[in-house]
Amino acid sequence: MSTAESQLTRDQLEAFGRELDAIRARVVIDLGQRDADYINNVIRTQRGLEVAGRGLLFLSLVPPAWIAGTAALSLSKILDNMEIGHNVMHGQYDWMKDPRLNGKTFEWDTACPGDQWRHSHNYMHHTHTNIVGKDRDIGYGILRMSEDQKWRPYYLGNPIYATLLAIFFQYGVALHDLEAERIAAGDTTWGEKRGMLQDIWRKVRGQTLKDYVLFPLVSGPSLPLVLAGNATANLARNLWAFTIIFCGHFPEGTHEFTEEEAENETRGEWYYRQLLGSANLTGGKLFHILSGNLSHQIEHHLFPDLPAHRYAEIAVHVRDICERYGISYNAGPLHKQFGSVVGKIVKLALPPRAGRGGPKPDRNDAKARRQEFAALA
């Protein structure tokens, strides 16, 4: 942690929670045409980029068309998944009462079925954020992302697994809710997961048919180039989504929690855990849009169901509150935050270095925070 934080009393935590509730209430009352116009514009842009990208790829025997088409399709998939899909599926636009933007039924252009995402992400990850053993976003069941995960020789491959996860991220996300590691451990069986597997198969089949069979086939002589363009667009989206998402909770300074710490949380304590467990990325407006405003991960975790394009203006108030309560607000540019995530992936591949001058400072701080947290609970 970069700054020492003051100890918050129970009353302070409740007041802190009330201030955040008030921010939320102000935004909810103000939701209206501006927000509807925003998401409709993003959707129009995404559809335009997609149609343009696919169209240019048909002409991809001309090299610049291939590059432009692949770039447009990559952007389209990034917008579709991040600023539209992820946010709509949180119910951020349910107040519009538009069945096309209903958080419960929306489907996105990626391998993961929307319904499984709603469970693994909206519920498991957002409710149990950074609780080791409950939040499966900590390492996706394959990586060691927290010192609280016991080291095994398997984790020596941490950097390799992370690289593979980044490359095949959409499939990693698609398999996320299956909890394959629990099947491996014998806690559950393939039989019990049959329905889920069928849903994943149906979605993957639709995605594969579109990107790797039908569009290449209808493009005639450009077939191999369309195939390559579509694969590149999916890869670009995978790498980008992985980068942004891993910067949300794993940069140096973010905290993890135990199940005991999070037991019987008050709303204020829940907000506090969300704040300590999340990190923001700084950047320009376009960067925020392309990150699905997950660059405002802190605000997103405090208010997952408020339209994400509002997070920038909400952040001003959240920063102010954090300053007044002496809570650190973790934000940095992409290269710095991602560098620190990569560092963590590499460092945690190795066993803890016991007996060498005691625990490291940040670890110490995390422990102190935890004791403070436990004392409050």
Partner: protein, 367 residues
């Protein structure tokens, strides 16, 4: 009249091809087509406003041209009309007033404005030619029987004139040979709808009797609220007439009680009124209805999710604290209070998170 969809041109058939649908996976081709032409979609029923005029200061009459997905309607039925107001879609039921034999399937909506009516005021103030609105297919059993009865009696009050106007025009278009009584209540002559047309129809059809009563109507022959005497002006024998009543609850109640006092079968009735809101948030009252499961329970004052579980249902849910949206469920009608914000919402057909919403009076959930 049920319309057979036209075979359409090549373009339309192409839009409906499975190949295009697979290329547009998972959003579906409509989500692309509508950005170019909102009416061309293959699933949603939508209509373009093709004409607009004001019969009275408190109403607006719209001509709507529905797209190919409209399956037609019978006079007396209603449609849900959706418009976007300040970013949010609002849907209200309206009964078209046109004949079911109207050319080109044009729907005529006459919308009376209410002081609190967001949609009615929006349509009156912002309705314009070329505007696209969402529609549901026609719904409701408030329709003329087949074969047509010998004697028809149509009683309406206020904006309730529209479905019976549709029935009257339909019967006139069919050259209905029987007797038609048309009794309409309006507050004042200035607010009475369809005056000139009713006069014209009465001139043209020998056995059509039209009478209008003005509840604040001064010294005219028919003044005040519905009573047995008013029936004499429009029918030779109300006991033998197939009777249709549409209007405010008070009108429907008085017709019903007269009919039951005379031992007549129940008349067909229809009314559209906003649910009464009770703000007794301290003491729980009302009944919670789970429409999809067909069960009911008295409101215990707990969040809807807990009440549903207490009623033996097991709705999908996640965090139970209003953040994950897993329990989001359609509230068909009724008022709920969000326990986090204290905000009370009375909108119909609204997605709510049942883990943090507490019913305020009667609530119907799609569970």
């Amino acid at each position: 009249m049920i319309r057979v969809p036209s075979s359409g041109g090549l373009g339309r058939r192409l839009l409906r091809s499975n190949l295009l649908e697979a290329l547009a996976y998972p959003h579906g081709i409509d989500r692309y087509v509508e950005l170019v032409s909102p009416l061309l979609v293959k699933r949603d029923v939508r209509a373009e406003v093709s004409g607009i005029f004001h019969q009275t200061p408190k109403s607006v009459t719209l001509a709507l041209c529905p797209n190919e997905n409209w399956r037609g309607m019978q006079a007396g039925q209603f449609v849900g009309v959706s418009v976007e107001i300040d970013g949010a879609r609002e849907t209200r039921p309206y009964s078209p007033a046109g004949s079911q034999h109207a050319a080109d399937d044009v729907l005529e909506l006459t919308v009376s404005t209410h002081p609190d009516g967001r949609v009615s005021r929006f349509l009156r103030d912002h309705g314009r030619r070329g505007m696209v609105v969402g529609l549901t297919q026609a719904q409701g059993q408030f329709v003329l029987p087949e074969p047509r009865p010998e004697r028809v009696l149509l009683i309406s009050g206020g904006s309730g004139i529209t479905p019976v106007m549709g029935m009257l025009r339909t019967l006139c278009d069919e050259d209905f040979p029987g007797e038609i009584g048309f009794l309409n209540y309006a507050r004042s002559p200035e607010l009475a709808l369809y005056g000139p047309e009713l006069r014209k129809l009465a001139e043209r059809h020998d056995r059509l009797y039209v009478a209008r009563a003005f509840t604040r109507g001064g010294k005219r022959a028919l003044a005040g609220r519905f009573c047995r005497q008013h029936l004499r002006a429009v029918t030779s024998d109300h006991r033998r007439a197939a009777t249709f009543v549409c209007g405010p609850p008070a009108l429907i109640d008085s017709v019903r009680s007269l009919w039951s006092a005379e031992g007549l079968p129940e008349p067909a009735v229809e009314t559209f009124t906003q649910p009464a809101i009770s703000f007794g948030t301290e003491r729980a009252e009302g009944v919670l209805s789970f429409a999809a499961s067909g069960c009911e329970a008295p409101n215990s004052g707990l969040p809807l999710l807990e009440q549903a579980e207490d009623a033996g249902l097991s709705p999908e849910h996640g965090c139970r604290m209003g953040i994950c949206n897993t329990c989001s469920c359609r509230k068909v009608q009724g008022a709920v209070r969000n326990a986090l914000t204290g905000a009370v919402s009375i909108a119909e057909d609204e997605q709510i998170r049942i883990c943090v919403c507490v019913p305020v009076g009667d609530v119907v959930l799609d569970l």
